[in-house]
């Protein structure tokens, strides 16, 4: 996909108050190069927009967030030790330069197409639609991207950036292992050393992905501190990074952490929504009524939401992991059951106790088992541009089984949360509606968990 072969895409230069700042008006084809140009045009408005920023204004001119210091309204920012500031500044500068550099964007778009398998298809889930008996259900098939989830979109961008910064080592955290596998994959492709931190608890429940990462040449470090899950893997990765920052890039896997990560990861994932929006228009000649995605840190949700933010008629719905139910206290729903606070370099909604100690999250899905949420989701929630629902373990597993039997698609337990939420939304919308579900990952890694949940391995249960 040579960049020069594409017509130059101009962006609307509407006034700040006029609604869709920087929205792409030319036909978006989903390349990162085009996303960058759209964002660049929006940045020109950002300075003016930041001066009279308000939640209502932000909902209209969303490209203006974050501001130059990385704030999404009152969320985001940089709450990190001084030792990391130089590296974050270096990363910000490298990213700003790269995203408008045709050499970089062409290389990334080339890899997304020829290596990662983009664009991913849009599937009309007709048997599922019939079974639910509500709105038409469309699936954005990120499960068909290389490595089996949307995570590859972000890691290809960050690993190319790593090479561009002259660094040779990449570290990453992982929960379910999807981001770890994607990072190990990109590092193998680009010849970078890779170390993945994973909570000891997660290395047990996602043993298959541990083996995949090791096959791909990565070192997997089982983290035995704290709750031994994703948040502790992030703690350990941050401890590594502060000591190795000269040679090492920390490839954060979600729209979280200190600025510029929430913005940069969003930008790399934005391709999901850009493609899905056009594919929906091509298929139906209209936009969906709702876009539904699961939210842990929130990268697949931010990726599919972002292009739809200016489309005020499209509802954006995130599904948090409810574990045993919010009332039980054993859940991972940061918005439904948390309060604003500071963790892992950002201000956002957190599960925390009365003293500000982080509470341990619970979910059957390792990838959603995180006590926080990306700061842009916090702002989307607070402005009302997106809404967030809670899906508990049982509802997610039921959805996983239903999707498998009606569509022949075994989705990740993370994505199954989005499906369960989408079923509710589809019934609320009724038969005239259209709901787009981001099918963020495939479920091969979860067969063991699902087999135990449904007693599929017990011959006496059959």
């Amino acid at each position: 996909m040579p960049l020069a072969a594409r017509p130059v895409v101009h962006t609307t230069s509407v006034g700040v108050g006029a609604g869709t700042v920087g929205a792409v008006t030319a036909r978006p084809t989903g390349t990162f190069a085009e996303s960058s140009r759209a964002a660049g045009a929006a940045d020109q408005h950002a300075a003016g927009a930041a001066g009279d920023w308000s939640p209502a204004r932000a909902a209209e001119s969303w490209q203006a967030v974050p501001d130059t210091s990385g704030h999404f309204g009152r969320f985001g920012g940089r709450f990190v030790p001084e030792a990391l500031f130089a590296a974050l500044d270096e990363l910000s500068a490298a990213y700003e330069a790269a995203r408008f550099d045709p050499v970089f964007t062409a290389e990334l778009d080339g890899l997304l197409a020829s290596y990662a398998g983009r664009p991913t298809p849009l599937t009309s889930a007709d048997r599922l639609t019939e079974r639910i008996g509500g709105a038409r259900i469309l699936l954005k098939r990120e499960d068909l991207a290389h490595t089996g989830s949307h995570k590859i979109n972000n890691v290809l961008g960050q690993c190319l950036l790593t090479r561009r910064m002259g660094k040779t080592r990449v570290i990453a955290e992982t929960g379910a292992g999807q981001h770890g596998v994607a990072t190990a994959t990109a590092c193998a492709l680009l010849g970078l050393e890779c170390v993945v931190y994973m909570g000891e608890e997660d290395t047990r429940r996602q043993a298959l992905n541990v083996a995949r990462m090791r096959l791909l040449g990565a070192e997997v470090v089982a983290v035995a501190s704290g709750s031994r899950t994703l948040k502790d893997a992030i703690n350990e990765a941050m401890r590594d990074w502060v000591a190795t920052v000269d040679s090492t890039h920390y490839c954060i896997g979600s729209v979280m952490g200190p600025h510029p990560f929430p913005m940069m990861v969003r930008d790399f994932q934005r391709v999901i929504g850009v493609e899905a929006r056009q594919q929906t228009l091509d298929l139906l000649g209209r936009l969906p009524d709702a876009v539904v995605a699961c939210v842990g840190g929130g990268s697949n949700a931010m990726g599919v939401f972002h292009r739809f933010i200016p489309d005020a008629e499209v509802a954006l719905i995130g599904c948090e992991a409810g574990g045993d139910g919010v009332a039980s206290g054993r859940h991972a729903a940061a918005i439904a059951g948390g309060a604003p606070g500071v963790l892992h370099g950002m201000r956002t909604f957190l599960l925390q106790d009365a003293d500000g100690q982080t509470q341990v999250s619970h979910s059957i899905s390792a990838g959603l088992d995180y006590p926080g949420i990306g700061p842009e989701h916090a702002l989307l929630h607070e402005t009302g541009r997106a809404s967030y629902r809670v899906v508990d373990d049982a509802a997610a597993m039921e959805a996983l089984a239903l999707v498998a039997r009606t569509e022949g698609i075994l989705v990740a337990i993370e994505s199954a949360h989005a499906f369960a939420g989408a079923f509710e939304v589809a019934r609320e919308l009724g038969p005239d509606g259209v709901v787009l579900v981001n099918c963020s990952g495939r479920g091969d890694k979860d067969v063991d968990t699902a087999a135990r949940w449904f007693d599929l391995l017990d011959p006496d249960a059959g």
């Binding site: 940089r78 500031f85 500044d89 910000s92 000591a243 957190l350 003293d355 500000g356």
Partner: protein, 305 residues
């Protein structure tokens, strides 16, 4: 290239007094910024008059229990520690190595609360040694930062070290500290650019905490060679005393650091002394802390000899 300084400038069209703390005028000097000297000012001035460095000792509150922690902190003051840092145990100590992580785990499992931390500050400040809280930011924000500053001041606290709160995010905290006349202490690191050194030091009071190496807390065989360079660079931009932390564990290392810094900060080694003494190995952790504190206190005095 977008430097941090550029981040700190208000964007065009953005009103002054926006989120960028550094856009505010830098105080002409700390003497001008506050009337009277703080307890930290006094102790650094007194040590300077004696031609020696200040010894700062860290222990987390609630480790192994609140009462044993208080006893250990009071013992280290009696043994020659000039300034005490009371750590607030936190669930996600991303800047700490294993020794302090483990101690925080023990303290939290024992049910230590922010109020226990303030009670510890009060008991230690009663010795007359300036006493600071060392805390990750979220517990302060959760407590309410004005309330925390007020209660810390009422407990006799001299200030607070907040390693994951950069000055850019600290407007409200700086105001609360000024109201309560407590000293906010920020950190500099070997990677700090000259612009950031100016930013951080212009918002610090009492002293500047210089992290000797790039890494987490914990004893090291050698204190980073970059520590001396960092102290030199800090002194080019501020008249505040500079205290060096991370990695110091012996009297000899304390003497070495005291040779080029105004203060020597010791944490993990004291925590380990307390843990080993009170652990299954037997012995008395409080006595072990006192012995190490005495060795370190001799170290900061030996440097001037």
């Amino acid at each position: 290239m977008r430097s941090q300084l550029a981040h700190d400038q208000p964007a065009q069209g953005q009103p002054a007094g926006g989120p960028a703390a550094a856009a505010r005028p830098v105080p002409a000097g700390r003497e001008a910024a506050r009337a009277g000297r703080s307890p930290l000012d006094e102790v650094f001035a007194a040590a300077r008059a004696q031609g020696r460095a200040v010894l700062v000792g860290y222990l987390p509150a609630g480790f192994p229990t609140v009462e044993r922690g208080i006893a250990a902190m009071r013992a280290m003051v009696a043994a020659g520690v000039d300034v005490v840092e009371v750590g607030l145990p936190y669930s996600d100590p991303t800047m700490d190595g294993p020794v302090i992580q483990d101690a925080a785990d023990v303290a939290l499992r024992g049910g230590v609360t922010t109020r226990d931390v303030l009670r510890t500050v009060e008991a230690v400040a009663d010795t007359g040694a300036p006493t600071l809280v060392m805390t990750y930011w979220n517990p302060v924000e959760r407590y309410g930062l004005e309330a925390f500053a007020a209660d810390l001041a009422s407990a006799g606290g001299a200030g607070a070290i907040t390693p994951d709160l950069p000055p850019e995010e600290a407007d409200s905290w700086l105001a609360a500290c000024a109201t309560q006349a407590i000293d906010p202490v920020f950190l500099v690191a070997p990677s700090s650019t000259p612009q950031r050194l100016r930013l951080v030091t212009s918002h610090s009071r009492g002293f500047v905490y210089a992290a000797s190496t790039m890494g987490v807390t914990g004893a090291r065989a050698a204190v980073g060679a970059r520590a001396g360079d960092l102290v030199t660079r800090v002194r080019e931009v501020t008249t505040l005393p500079v205290a060096v932390g991370l990695g110091v564990s012996t009297g000899a290392q304390a003497a070495e650091v005291a040779g080029f810094a105004d203060g020597v900060i010791v944490g993990s080694a004291l925590v380990r002394a307390l843990a080993t003494g009170d652990g299954e190995g037997g012995g008395d952790g409080v006595e072990a802390v006192a012995r190490l504190a005495a060795e370190l206190a001799a170290g900061v005095r030996a440097a001037s000899a």
